[in-house]
Amino acid sequence: MIKTEKLYKKYGTLEALKSLDVVIKSNKLTYIVGPNGSGKTTFIKSILGLVKPTSGNLFVDGTKLNGIYQYRKNIGYMPQIASFPENLCVKEVLNLLKEIRSETVKYDEELIHLLSLEREYDKRIKNLSGGTKQKLNAAIAFLFDPQLLILDEPSAGLDPVSSSILKDKILRDKKAGKTILFTSHIMSELEELAEEIIFLLEGSVCFSGEKDELISMTGEKNLERAIANLMIGIKS
């Protein structure tokens, strides 16, 4: 479970997160939605400790984050863009991560097989296509069988086949009891996967709750319209 208390982040004069109070429940698929610049990435990065909050508290499974790093052994992160040392080959990148996370002994290499990354094992990173790098990125997020998965726009840059493989994997892992947090701009994906929704707007929580709750609240017939309704409603 992730809990924030008055989480506040300021970059210079820009307020990226304004006193955020959210709870992300365990064993749920939570979707963070919001227009560009609403603080989605800043929020995700605060959970990972990549961004240090100006004030407020953040708890991951009851542990308060203040410069500690051990909690990340339970997290798998798939960033929007990933890059690896370009002269290493795929196999070496995987080995590097395995050695860093040496306490994990059970690997989940399902995605490596399904996305046929074994074929690329001996290729240097600089010779990989953008899509293949993204596949590797996805495989790495799942590799250590983490309890919490954080996926930042997982489908961006993937072909439809890989994207659906990834989607199935997300659903399977969710069934296995994992907490999944993701952002995406593809509405059909969200319709299909999301259970909980957190709607961020200009650094504040605008809606947080179940998907059906949002639909019934706005009186629209599907999620896409409900979210559009929410966005328009705020503008006017």
Binding site: Y11, K45, L48, G49, L50, V51, K52, G67, Y69, Q70, Y71, R72, K73, I75, Y77, P79, I81, A82, S83, F84, P85, E86, N87, L88, E92, L96, L97, E99, I100, R101, S102, N137, I140
Partner: protein
């Protein structure tokens, strides 16, 4: 500590395979071999190598170091999302770049010298100090370049600052000292000029070699005062100490910035 070992190992793999590092070694090899073919006088060769090293190593270390951190930003984010301490990663990146660069200087310059080793029978100590100075330069300027990159988000600004710093230490600095000394020529200037030398890592590594040469005329004003004041034993110890400080301090400040930074 295990994680540090792995980061260094893979960074070294990565750096050693990159094209620019090969070019860097070949450059040193060409210069060294060229100079050795011109003359049999080991003193002349060492002094020319010294002058070239003191220009090239700081420039390459500063530029490569800053670019390296900027270009690896997404990779840094990926590693930082693993259970790893930020300090470990920073040190890993630093050693993973500085080691291969120092090695590449060492082999590039050293191999041609090995071919002509009979010319260097009496110059062992000077040669040793030449290499020691070059290695220090690499570690110092890579640590400064990392500091610059952690202080500036903007790539162009960071790179500009690196190049300025290189110009400052390898060219402007001596000029400024001369102007200052000229301006205050009525006063005793030994102590201030010693302090000036300690404040410039390029001058310090030059001193390492020149102290062994015993030809004060070649080392400029500050160098001459330095030998006179300390003699070569104490002078050597003092310059090593300052060089160590120069390698460690920027690294520590950079480490502190890196630990607080947002990615």
């Amino acid at each position: 500590m295990n994680a540090l070992k792995f980061i260094i190992k893979y960074q070294i793999h990565d750096t050693l395979r990159s094209k620019w590092l090969i070019i860097y070694s070949l450059f040193f090899a060409a210069i060294s071999y060229g100079l050795l073919s011109f003359t049999n006088d080991s003193g002349k060769v060492i002094l020319s190598l010294l002058n070239i090293n003191m220009i090239i190593i700081p420039l390459a270390s500063l530029v490569f170091g800053t670019i390296y951190l900027y270009n690896n930003r997404d990779y840094i984010i990926l590693i930082l999302s693993q259970p790893i301490n930020r300090k470990t990663l920073y040190l890993g990146l630093y050693l993973g770049l500085a080691f291969p660069m120092a090695l590449s200087f060492l082999f590039g310059t050293g191999l041609p010298i090995l071919l002509y080793i009979k010319n260097f029978k009496e110059a062992g100590a000077v040669l040793f100090n030449l290499f020691l100075g070059g290695i220090f330069e690499t570690f110092i300027f890579v640590s400064i370049s990392f500091l610059i990159a952690t202080l500036n988000e903007n790539k162009m600004k960071g790179l500009g600052l690196s190049i300025f710093l290189w110009m400052f230490f390898s060219a402007l600095y001596d000029g400024l000292i001369l102007i200052t000394l000229q301006f205050f020529r009525e006063y005793p200037l030994e102590i201030p000029s010693l302090v000036f030398t300690l404040l410039n890592p390029v001058d310090l590594s030059r001193l390492l070699v020149i102290l062994k040469f015993d030809i004060s005329a070649l080392m400029g004003y500050t160098g001459a005062v330095f030998t006179q004041f300390f003699g070569s034993g104490l002078g050597f110890a003092l310059s090593i100490l300052s060089l160590l400080l120069w390698s460690i301090l920027p690294l520590l400040i950079g480490l502190k910035n890196f630990s607080k930074k947002d990615f």
